[in-house]
Structure formats: C-alpha cells, structure tokens
C-alpha cells in the first residue's frame, strides 16, 4: 500500500465538505476511517451478526472467534506477552478509569501519592481526582520544562516513599512531546512503583512494544487509530489483571452466581462485563491490518516529514507562535496567533475546508501553565500531505488578513 495514495482508502475525502475539499487536520481528536473498516462493520451486521460468548449456535461461535481474533491482532500489534493482557473497553477514558478505580480500591489509602504530569489530558487526571476526593490521596504534578517536555528528572523529583502510581502520557496531545516511558518505567520499578501510560496519541503514530516499554498499564483509543468509535483497549500486565478486582459487574464476567456469593470469571472476561462493542472490536481488526499494510516505519517517516514541513511552513509567519519544542515530537502542531482567538482561527479555517481544533484540548492544567486559555491545533494522520499543510498555511494567512482589515 503506497502511502502517497492513501487518501483514496478513506471515503470521506471523496466528498466535498461545504463545497471545499476536506483538509482534515484533527486526527489527534479522532481519525477518519478507511473503507475496509466501514465495510467490515456493514458486513458483520448484514451477514454475520450475533452476540458473542454466550450461545452455541453457528453465528455466535463465528462472532466469538472474530472478536477474539482482534484481541490476538492487538496483542501482536503492541507486542504484549499474552492475549489475555488485552481488555476491550468503551474507550481509553474507560481504560484509565478501570485502573484508577480498581487499583485505587485495592491499593490506595489516605495520604498515598500518585504522580501525573502537567501535560495530562483530563482523562488521565479526573479519574485520579475521584480518589483524591474519596480516599484522600495526593496528586503530584511533574512539571513541564520551557519546551513543553517532561523529563525523567522532572518525574524523579516528585517520587516520595508514598508514591503508589505514576500515570502519564506517552505523547502530549498539545505540545507533541514524546516522553521517555521506558526510562521512567525502569526508574519507577526500581522503587516498586507501577506505571500507567496514556497511549491515546502515541498508538496511532509510534511503534508499539509493551514488552520493551515494560509499563504496567497502557490505554489506547481505537477511534484515533483509524478504528471505530466506542472502543478502547487497556493493556495490563497479566499479574495486575489477575490481582485487581473487577471493574463493572454484569453478564459475561462471572464464574458462579449464588444467593450468598459470586465468583468471577477468568481473564479477559473478568473485565468485560455486559455485551461489548462487538462490531467495533471486529472492525478494529481491519484498522490493524490497514496499519500493518502501510508498515509502521513508512508511517513514521511519512508523518515526520509532514511534521517537519508543517513546522517549517508555519515558522515563516512571524505572527504564528508554535507551542512546544520538545526533544522528540509527534504528529501535532499547536499554535497561537497574536490578537486572534483560537476559536476565531478555527472558524475562519473551517470556511476554507481546513478542519483543526481550537480550545484547551482537554488540557486546562497545561494551558494555565502556558499562560493560555486556548490554542489552535493542527494534528496529523497518515492521509495528510504536504499540500494539506500548504492549505493550512494559506488559510492562516487569510485569517490574519481578515483580522487586520
């Protein structure tokens, strides 16, 4: 599959959006879907649909196998040791909530501390805040440096004898900083602290290797990986999934139910209560196939080229301020323009068919630290081209012209 022609695989680009060709630069928010994924959902519902794991009829067995095939495909894609280390959730948000809730219930007490960073998306802060409210734990923030980066040293500074968990992003959705997860995990483990990684932004753009990173938990958002909405993946080391209590109770996750007691099912069922997002899971296998066909190295090279080109083009405008200049950066170009609010930028760009995001991107702590209430963000996907970034630049200049008149 040639990366130059990849736009053709995404039907959304065949249509005009409000009379414009779509320049989609909001993939950090959610990616577009290749036809193979859309077709897979259609085919499943029209030809193969059944609930999984319960009935013994033909369709139920076939659907169960398809569902489990995706689990294996994810395991391979992220190089997890065991397929039962893959838990499907309704999103990365639920994956993090699952860990915060069950780990908190079993291991966190008043006065215990956890570390997150100032880069975190609200979904890797709010679930821990619940524990601060309910259990009286303390949340310490590892600070960003002037480049919008979080270093190993910044994490180390926050570690105390009471630290029970380090939860942090792999790739910032605002500054684009790629954090040294492997080194942080090594340090954390040397002090007996488990590590949870929010991999929402990294999983679509980087080579995934759980055994190499060696982190304890890793949350993935499938809709950012050219997959369906309503689906996330929690990777967790098997020892944790065996050890932690179930998150939600319901059908499918039990072993035996009696009036006076209940025993829970084996992995992975233990954490997948109720009817799961079956069609989405099955279609997500096609997203992984799609990524595999492109090849992760081709994808990385392509997106690095775009990121460098985008930075170069935007830097030529002295009125554009790029946010974040970290050592290692991935897939996002956040910026501000003096005198023009990001919402106004996004609205004017939208009129030219350029879709970006404006706001705090669910990172209010970070924006406060940066002295901003909002920023504009162009984020990249595999289907973007240099031409898209030229159009972004053209539209930004148009925006400046409108405000200067």
């Amino acid at each position: 599959m040639k990366i130059e022609n990849i736009k053709k695989e995404f039907p959304i680009f065949n249509n005009k959006i409000e009379n414009n060709d779509l320049v989609y630069l909001d993939s950090a928010n959610s990616s577009q879907k290749p036809l193979v994924v859309v077709d897979r959902i259609y085919d499943f519902y029209t030809k193969e649909f059944s609930n999984i794991g319960r009935s013994v009829h033909y369709l139920a067995v076939a659907a169960t196998n398809l569902y489990e095939n995706t689990r294996t495909a994810v395991q391979k894609y992220i190089n997890a040791k065991d397929k039962n280390e893959i838990v499907f959730t309704k999103g990365a948000t639920e994956a993090i909530n699952l860990v915060a809730s069950t780990f908190g219930q079993k291991y966190l007490n008043e006065g215990d501390e956890i570390i997150i960073t100032e880069l975190e998306h609200h979904s890797n802060y709010v679930p821990w805040h619940y524990l601060r409210k309910n259990k009286g734990i303390k949340i310490n923030f590892a600070e960003i440096d002037e480049h919008g980066d979080v270093s190993l040293e910044s994490i180390e500074k926050q570690i105390t004898s009471k630290t029970k968990m380090i939860a942090l992003t792999h790739l910032s959705n605002v500054t684009g900083a790629i954090l040294p997860i492997k080194e942080i995990t090594e340090l954390a483990h040397s002090k007996g602290i488990p590590v949870l990684v929010d991999g929402c932004q990294s999983a679509p753009h980087m080579k995934m290797d759980m055994q190499d990173l060696n982190c304890d938990f890793y949350a993935i958002s499938c809709h950012k990986m050219y997959g369906p909405t309503g689906l996330g993946v929690l990777y967790a080391k098997k020892k944790w999934l065996d050890d932690l209590p179930p998150y939600q109770g319901g059908g499918g996750m039990i072993n035996e139910v009696k009036k006076n007691d209940i025993s829970y099912g084996e992995l992975p069922n233990k954490f997948e209560a109720g009817t799961m997002a079956t069609a989405q899971v099955i279609a997500f296998n096609e997203s992984i196939n799609f990524l595999n066909k492109i090849g992760i190295n081709n994808l990385i090279n392509h997106e690095n080229d775009l990121l460098n080109y985008g930075e170069e083009v935007l830097r030529k405008n002295n009125f554009v301020k790029l946010i974040g200049n970290p050592k290692k950066k991935g897939a996002v170009l956040s910026f501000t323009i003096d005198g023009i609010h990001p919402h106004d930028i996004a609205t004017i760009l939208d009129e030219d068919g350029v879709a970006i995001r404006a706001g705090h991107h669910c990172c209010q702590i970070l924006h406060e630290k940066l002295g901003l209430t909002a920023s504009a963000r162009a984020s990249l996907g595999v289907y973007n081209t240099r031409d898209d970034l030229d159009k972004l630049n053209e539209s930004i200049n148009n925006c400046k012209k409108i405000f200067n008149k």
């Binding site: 023009i340 609010h341 919402h343 106004d344 609205t347 004017i348 209430t373 409108i402």
Partner: protein, 153 residues
Amino acid sequence: MNLKELYQEIILDHGKNPRNLGKFENFNKDAKGHNPLCGDKVHLFLKLDEYKNVKDISFEGEGCAISMASASIMTDLMKGKSEKEAKEIIHKFLDMIKEKDDINTNLLEEDEKTKLMSLGGVKNYPMRVKCATLSWHALSSALDDFQKDVTTE
C-alpha cells in the same frame, strides 16, 4: 449569512476593542459566565439604581472575537434600560440567535439592532452560539439574583 461574513467590521471592531471592559467601583450585582468546552470566561458587573435601572454595566473576560464583541455590544446598549426592558432585550436577542430572523422590539434603536443582527451568523453553529450568548446569560443571572434579593426584603 455564512460564518465568514460574521467577521465583519462591527464584530472585528468590538472584538478587538471591547467597550465597557474592566471592573468598576460600586457595582451591586455581578455574575460569572463560563463555557467549559472552550474555556471562555466572562464576569459581568452591574449597578442598578433604586428604580432598578441600569446605571452602569461592564465586564471582564477572555474569549474569542464573537464573545468579546457580544459582551461589548450588549453592555453598550443596556445602559439606562430598566430591569424589565433589559430582560426583554435578552429574551429577544436569544430568540434571534437561536431561531428568529429578526429582533422584534421597540426598545432598541435601528443601529443597535443592526449590531446585534451581525452576531446572527452563529445560528447554525451550536459551538459558536455559546460564544455569542455567554455574556447575555451572565446578565440574565445577575438580574435574577437582584430580583431575588429584592423580594426577600
């Protein structure tokens, strides 16, 4: 009106140089408005005299050109209005922003109506409607608070 036409002179002028910006002394009512989706904030200050007329009104805030322009235009035209009139204007403005094509009231001059109508382009953009209405909801809440105070006396 498409959204680009929204960024016309009136909005850009008020958005870049908002009138009545900043807190004033002796306000007797205030209310905050916040849009959690985008982080836009407005803090409205109001002085009602003994006859419940708007003696002075101002705002502090941070936000896009639409929300700043809206607060600027609103505070300009509310001066001297009675509480009842202010409420009717709020009502008519919110109606216009949400669905109506016009502002039907004789409480406003034609040029004031023109200024408000220039915000009408947000109608079909739910995300931006909130920018245009933020300060109006804050004023509404400040007025309601006043009424509550009055009735308890």
